[in-house]
Symmetry: C2
Subunit: 343 residues, 2 copies
């Protein structure tokens, strides 16, 4: 085994969106493990929009990130050495490995580090469908929206990692119509050709709300929202009795101050229509993560969910993979295969 | 048995709020029953704000009400004659009896007509605590708000029939602080002296939101809302992580057109705080009504819920009882003992 490994550290705080100059690739010795620890070789690392907030040390749910620290990040790895009863050599684990080729783990709560149980499937799924984004999709669409046969379903941010799975889940649960909203022709094609959506609406072209009326003339039973703001208000204006709205993200509001937020006309319709609106955060449901993994693995085996992945190969591509998220050109779950031999 | 009975019919549509001139008391023969029917002697009839909407034929969830029709209304009665297997003479039932001294019932779904199971308790509870308002209180506070030990709870419309019970339920479930909002000193005294609230805030005196800050300095975990509009917005500005808001009513919006509704600043906090807001209608939960009755009866026996009733005696007081609701002078569950000998 090599004695040195590569890792990415934060070189400086980003100005606006992240650039490659904000990161620094360094070589360091592979760490030694102590009693109670295990050494993991990184196979896959995911990237996510929230990482820009880590880089700015806006890390409400993460440890502070200082200049020179290894970048935060979750991934999938293989145990290569163990002095810990919880892990044996060869185990596949999901953990907050950070942007490095090897990491030290220990026996921790499930949501921090756990052995994957469905390793007959692609190990890369541990970053998306069988990881936190997949769990978010199951929790949001199956449990919070509780899709019933015959429901009409609308999804915003439908080409993102979570959005790329919730359409499949809605269909699997019997939804009659599942419509996705995304930006640009390429992503919209992805929705209908690869991600199981009945139709895709491009928010970058005019007349979005008229298109919602056209594709969902009977109103909206379920809205899975990643956008917030005016779109959410317009959807409230179109909900049916006992509609369910899951607030997964609010990207329209992340870069403006609260006093500029849209003030909705239609909030009263939650009461009028006996509807539900609910925000959620996957780490609050840690006790269910194990079940979410098995549910998603079952759907993948049955061909009901088809994970869509966008994979670069080699740890040197980590900054580029992250930056591509903000450029919004691709869809699905963006990740890097850190170990080129991983399946 | 007498052969004649009294009943109240709608004399004309109200102009603004209801007046005694809108009703007419008539005497008619007590009806004969056919095979499959039972005759019920009315013991108690409830009144509710929604009845003004019945009088104006705005009856989305009720049969149309024409001039000359007997007024809609739910109540408690005793079976005095039966040609129906579902009911035997002496049974106590809850049903949509309407404003009359005798009514004909038949075997119907539980939420329309059912035999009461806790008749060792006051039969008048069938109008409030063991009727639809009590069921609404259990569903809203126990199930939708899912109060946890240590929660801070705010209730608007706290002196109303439902509000007079939800404070007790919140305390029973372990809430740390339960604050009620009502209009006027008399109702506020009722909240703290009779209805189990830790404090009462009078919305008719200035500085309501500052008072909320004073009494709930750690923020709001649960809001049981009967008001909507600006108050709901201000509460959203003060919710804690994973707060739960039950939308029971929206009285601030019932008498103004939608374009005048308050446009909230703080809806985004549902997503920010991973909170939930949910409207609900008790008839959508008919399959649980039986369990709600038993839960409430248990709490009453344990002294945890103390139903507060405001009872007039004699069917001739029905219009006055209804009108008193709009004058807002009393609190608790307003009803009429139609049979003066009922316990």
């Amino acid at each position: 085994m090599a004695s040195q490994m590569k890792q990415w550290v934060l070189a400086k705080r980003p100005v606006g969106l992240a650039t490659v100059e904000d990161f620094h690739l360094v070589e360091v010795p592979i760490p030694n493990i102590e009693e109670g620890q295990a050494l993991v070789k990184t196979l896959y690392l995911g990237v996510a929009p929230v990482m820009l907030r880590y880089m700015n040390n806006e890390t409400e749910f993460e440890r502070p990130l200082h200049i020179g620290d290894v970048m935060h990040g979750r991934g999938v790895g293989r145990v290569v050495e163990s002095k810990c009863d919880a892990f044996k050599v060869g185990d596949i684990v999901q953990s907050k490995l950070r942007w490095r080729e090897y990491a030290v783990i220990q026996d921790e709560p499930y949501y921090l580090t756990h052995t994957m149980h469905n390793t007959d499937l692609n190990l890369s799924y541990g970053v998306g469908a069988l990881g936190m984004n997949g769990f978010t999709a199951v929790l949001g669409m199956r449990d919070i929206c509780a899709v019933q046969p015959g429901d009409t379903v609308l999804v915003s941010g439908a080409a993102g990692s979570v959005g790329s799975m919730v359409g499949f889940i809605a269909k699997t649960l019997g939804a009659k119509t599942v419509i996705g909203i995304a930006g640009g022709e390429k992503k919209c094609r992805l929705l209908t050709e690869q991600l199981g959506y009945d139709a895709a609406l491009d928010y970058k072209s005019p007349g979005l709300y008229e298109k919602i009326d056209k594709y969902l003339p009977e109103g909206i039973d379920v809205f899975f929202d990643n956008v917030g703001g005016e779109l959410l208000d317009e959807v409230l204006g179109r909900i049916n009795r006992r509609a369910r709205i899951a607030i997964c993200g609010r990207i329209s509001e992340y870069l403006i101050p609260p006093e500029q937020y849209h003030r909705p006309r239609n909030l009263y319709r939650i009461g009028l229509k006996d509807a539900k609106m609910e925000g959620f955060f996957i780490y609050d449901y840690a006790k269910n993560h194990h079940e979410y993994e098995h549910q998603m693995a079952q759907w993948i085996r049955e061909g009901k969910v088809k994970p869509y992945e966008d994979i670069s190969v080699g740890i040197e591509h980590m900054p580029h993979a992250l930056i591509s998220l903000y450029q919004g050109t691709n869809g699905g779950t963006r990740m890097v295969r850190v170990d080129p031999s991983a399946h």
